[in-house]
Symmetry: C2
Subunit: 471 residues, 2 copies
């Protein structure tokens, strides 16, 4: 997005960016005070509006903690660029003040040599912690979690816990403080309570008496989708991540879960459109990356669709004697694809939201079959009306048998739409059953599967209805 366009959207950033640009050039020392009240997200937007070479000076003009917060909201690509332009010591100074999960994410975007250099410059505890976090795959609970959370011995009193929290907050640590976890002497999580519940607890009570003992947690290897599911089911502010002995390793906070949900959705939409999901945002994906992600599936679908040519060749004699049949081919097979695409999108979302399970496939089939028949009947009637009215208006010559052609078109539509609906609804189940991602059941894939069968249905109906007249 060009700076001009962005301005219209991001009013706060757009309003102050010119002033900050001037300040950076004339009196950089004044930038910190001038931007003090801006939300770090807005300040990150300001940075994105500046000429690229001024981003590092802007960050340098801010207090270190503040610059780190801005980094956390900066566009990933820009953040990588800024870190690569800095020397390792500077970069490490910024990263050290970022939250551990954001720091890890930022390092993962860098090339390995640069990341290693910066890692070595990090102060000792932060370096070890980051190295540990880098070991988790980015799409797992471990890859999402931050290690800055609050845990207190379960035997502590409410007052002691509160003053511990206060101490941690005053030390400037920033994340995941809305929830307090209680642990036993071995570090195993035994309970959870929100900061609000801690404040509400009677003075003098022990944590063990006021905390919830059923703690919803995930292992570090859990898929990020599972973390999102739990957050949404239990309305959690943070999901604790534990090791095999139920010791607390970290927590995934709700803001990261929202990012996960949005990234997963982008992937699902791209897959539903019939391509491989992009790893980067569209605007940041290069020409050849985009081409690769699209050409693969497009070629597979094309090769699949080649069977339509083979099917048509089988019916070449029929086409020769009744070329009128060719007219309705696109109309009929596309109706199968469209109804299949509807069914697929319905079932995919129901599966994603866990409204239905794999084992529900036959109930879904029983539900979709009458839907397909009804939808096919509706289109069939419209198709019959189309043929008969074109005949009545003299717009088209149906070889003297408009009624038979209309019947062929109508019955074929019932068959093709019913088949399309069934294929579209069952394909996600089939894919999951055989260990594939059901989201690969794209609209174009369903259309391709249905097209070949649609032709066979159409010509088979024609052979029955039109034999002895047109065929």
């Amino acid at each position: 997005m060009s700076p001009e366009q962005r301005e219209k959207e991001r009013s706060v950033a757009a309003l102050v960016a010119p002033d900050i640009l001037d300040l950076l050039r004339s009196a950089p020392a004044a930038v910190a005070a001038e931007t003090e009240e801006l939300h770090p997200a807005d300040l990150a937007d300001v940075a994105e509006l500046l000429p690229r070479e001024l981003i590092a000076p802007l960050l340098a003009a801010l207090p270190a903690g503040r610059a780190a917060s801005v980094m956390e909201y900066l566009d990933e690509e820009l953040r990588t660029e800024v870190l690569e332009a800095m020397d390792a010591e500077q970069a490490a100074g910024l990263l050290a003040r970022m939250t551990p999960d954001e720091r890890t994410d930022a390092l993962e975007e860098l090339d390995e040599a640069t990341a290693d250099e910066i890692l070595e410059e990090l102060p000792e505890p932060a370096r070890r912690e980051t190295e540990r976090l880098l070991e988790y795959a980015p799409d797992t609970a471990g890859g999402l979690m931050t290690t800055e959370f609050v845990s207190v011995e379960e035997t502590a009193t409410v007052e002691a816990a509160l003053s511990a929290v206060r101490g941690i907050a005053r030390a400037g640590r920033r994340e995941a403080m809305g929830t307090v976890y209680t642990v036993d002497a071995r570090g195993t999580v035994t309970g959870v309570l929100s900061l609000r519940e801690l404040l509400a607890a009677p003075e003098g009570a022990r944590l063990v008496d006021v905390a919830w003992t059923e703690v919803v947690s995930v292992p570090a290897t859990a898929d990020r989708e599972e973390v999102a599911q739990l957050t949404s089911n239990y309305d959690l502010a943070a999901v604790p991540v534990v090791d095999a002995d139920h010791r607390l390793l970290g927590v995934v906070t709700v803001d990261d879960v929202i990012d996960v949900i949005q990234e997963e959705q982008t992937e699902d939409v791209q897959k539903l459109g019939g391509m491989e999901a992009l790893e980067e945002p569209y605007m940041q994906s290069g020409f050849f990356t985009l081409l690769r992600k699209r050409a693969g599936w497009l070629t597979v679908l094309f090769v699949g669709e080649m069977f339509t040519a083979a099917a048509m060749a089988r019916y070449q004699a029929e086409l020769d004697s009744a070329i009128i049949l060719a007219l309705f081919i696109p109309l009929i097979i596309s109706s199968g694809g469209n109804s299949g695409s509807q069914a697929t999108s319905l079932i995919l979302r129901a599966l994603a939201l866990k409204e239905v399970e794999l084992s529900d496939w036959w109930r879904m089939a029983a539900r979709e079959l009458p839907s397909g028949l009804a939808l096919g009947a509706i289109l069939g009637v419209v198709g019959v009306v189309r043929v008969m009215s074109w005949h009545a208006l003299g717009l088209q010559d149906f070889g003297g048998h408009p009624g038979l052609v209309a019947t062929t078109v109508g019955l074929s539509l019932v068959g093709v739409v019913t088949f399309g609906t069934l294929v579209g609804s069952m394909l996600p189940f089939l894919l999951r059953r055989f260990g594939f991602d059901p989201a690969s059941a794209s609209a174009p894939l369903v259309a391709t599967l249905v097209d070949v069968t649609g032709l066979v249905i159409y010509f088979s109906v024609a052979l029955v209805i039109l034999r002895g007249t047109l065929l």
Copy 2:
């Protein structure tokens, strides 16, 4: 979903449900103590596993506040059923203890007469508050917000604010306490700070000195998508909702924002599949609702696709002389639809995530045009190979001109895929430009638009290449 299937998924609920069923029948008074430690979400799952007539008794066996929490996690349809089965006084007793936003949602699901009856039984302040919330449209910030939040006069000290928060927490109010808002004497929001920042603030400081003065807020009429966008951009735990004078009306909490994001995603996927979005989950939508949501678009697409028959009729003479052309029709036009579907899904997500704006349309066109050409060239080559190898293998007779047929197929593919890619990428912009929802640019709609033009491109290329030989 049947209870049997659900059991596999929801282990906590499934494990305890049989015991609770027994208890409810033998010693209902013991249920409360037995389920004390369960998360209300799990207890709601237990309720969903019970025979429907036992849900009200289960709720009655719990302390009122606990029953209200369980109600908040209960499946909407079940919640409506339970409330309708109760007398108004009982229902009001439960609703009064729910958070104001959940209470409003629950009432909105009921038929008006029942809702009015229950409303009248609510204690006075809750009734007035609920009536006020019911006035906001459910898909606006006002319709999502809760009125239970913490605001403190900006002149108060940190200690006074903390003890106010503590008092409110102890009074058993439950939502939106992670963020404290400061207001001036006229009730205008002047600042915001998190509970953590309040705890970290130096003792004796005044709120006005420690709160952030740039408060991100929305008007009550703001669309729920805007609320979601702000939450995600600024990593907020709650979005304050204000009136025209910037007085605080309520807050939207992040758990509701996650629900909004998921509902919007479901709608987008269903629209992308070529149907109207459902208002209820798939499993709770009736047969005729589903049929209506699908039949509308399917018929529109069918009528649009009728132009393919008209286009084919125009080329009937060409088909008559070279029936071989008919063979490749599905292959060629589907490739246009597939490439268009890819482009649409890419652009739709980029628009939804605000990576691109309406004004970027020409930049996107400039980006997608070479992509379309390249993808078309790839498929074109595959198409040429297909024709030439079928000829070489003697699988198909191309009227003595395999090279010319191959050229026709190859060039048509370049044209059709390029056109499909452009239509697919521009359609969302066009729809938004003319005030429609860009998400209506479904894969089937793009395919339909591209099919007619695809035929025209194919036959035009054929007329040029094959004139004097096959045509």
